[in-house]
Symmetry: C2
Subunit: 250 residues, 2 copies
């Protein structure tokens, strides 16, 4: 994949707690920002319940459609943690105790603490690669282009370092934000022209409310800094012409 | 739909800013909690980019699969706001100026302020029903079982009141949480038994870290209070037996 400049991914959030609204997902944002930085663009996110058939079907669809699939959630020790078994079924692989994982957790826990519940966490698809977990021991795992991570945000974050060498990204996706003191309708036509002149750059417009004031963030995204610079200069031209206040840029 | 007790929905989050990780989605949680309270269970969430074909295909798939579909994002005045036009295509309806919407915004804005950019916000699929927006004027809209809402969380929240009479839910989904001072592996087997004894109740187990201490939240969900009570009592039995500290319940 080394010559590929565009590499994409899907994120599959597995968990009833997100669908019920009880838990606010933050893993999408964490993963997407990190993936951007290593040149992988997230093209789709799905949130699905802890239902085996749904996990199997979603994984099998997404892994064919995207270069990488990252799942979060469902790899703990309880009855509702069915990701590892479901991934085994999706790939038609045996669901078995991972020997390396067993040794790892045997060392991690104090003698007698590595009980049946904890042992469930190293049951995985056969020959899965481990993704090390420096926070709480129990590893994630990788089969082909599918990477299975935990749902707890702090643990997921701590595992990204160990995941990096397993991913081959393209060019990092660069992003530049221009914050303006205006409303979207004032700049809509001018911004459409800039987008039309720069079709391969992604330009987004997002209203914000900050300290009681309205504003608009214009976000320019591309793999090429030079293309971002061209858009930036065209946007600066029209905001000068329209006498719109520039709040800041980054 | 009045005799149906189980009513489901999908949420379709439209927006590159969520996929890039720049913006943290909070609308899923807002909508899911609100929908639970009126007896609608969210079964799937998808986050997709501002790409017409993807919006059209996703809406056409989800609206056949679920009782309701709620979209967020892409109904503003800028070039990247393509939800209304895409929904028109999905339903094979004319994309046109909404007369009632026009009158609404004409009154909302000061004379001369209702410019071309703002007028774009009342271009919709023909005969769409308006969803009123008490915060910022520009309405959302409804076609058949698809409801299109804005992406800005505070505006979306303000529109739920006006949306309620358009939705017929089933029985509200009740939820009960038991917070324990333990780790998941200590209760995994006992909790599996409770789930096996109560197959039509949804029992989830979620580790938490609070004030430097580990804990587990057990969440019981059902439309029947009596079924929740049975699970609750079975869980209280095993935590008493295991001498696990009960932090609180709600």
């Amino acid at each position: 994949m080394s010559e590929k400049t565009k590499v994409n991914a899907a994120i599959l959030i597995i968990g009833n707690e997100i669908l019920s609204g009880r838990t606010q997902d933050t893993n999408t944002s964490t993963l997407a920002l990190w993936l951007n930085s290593i040149g992988v663009k997230v093209q789709e996110v799905r949130v699905i319940p802890d239902v085996e058939e749904t996990i199997v079907n979603s994984v099998n669809l997404l892994r064919k459609q995207y270069d990488y699939v990252f799942t979060t959630g469902g790899i703990g020790p309880t009855h509702d943690d069915i990701t590892a078994e479901s991934i085994s079924k999706a790939f038609n692989l045996k669901y078995e105790m991972h020997k390396e994982g067993y040794k790892l957790l045997e060392k991690y826990y104090k003698p007698g603490e590595f009980n049946e519940g904890r042992q469930k966490m190293i049951w995985m698809p056969e020959n899965a690669k481990l993704i090390l977990n420096p926070t709480s021991g129990a590893p994630g795992f990788n089969v082909e282009n599918v990477f299975c991570l935990p749902g707890v945000p702090s643990i997921l974050k701590s595992m990204l370092g160990g995941l990096k060498h397993l991913i081959t990204g393209g060019k990092p996706i660069l992003s530049y934000t221009i914050n303006l003191r205006t409303v979207e309708s004032e700049i809509a036509n001018s911004l459409t022209k800039v987008q039309d002149n720069n079709k391969d750059v992604e330009i987004g417009s997002y209203p914000f409310f900050q300290a009681g004031k309205l504003g608009v963030s214009i976000v320019i995204r591309s793999e090429e800094q030079s293309k971002i610079d061209i858009c930036n200069s065209q946007i600066l031209d029209f905001i000068k012409e329209k006498k719109i206040e520039l709040v800041n840029r980054d």
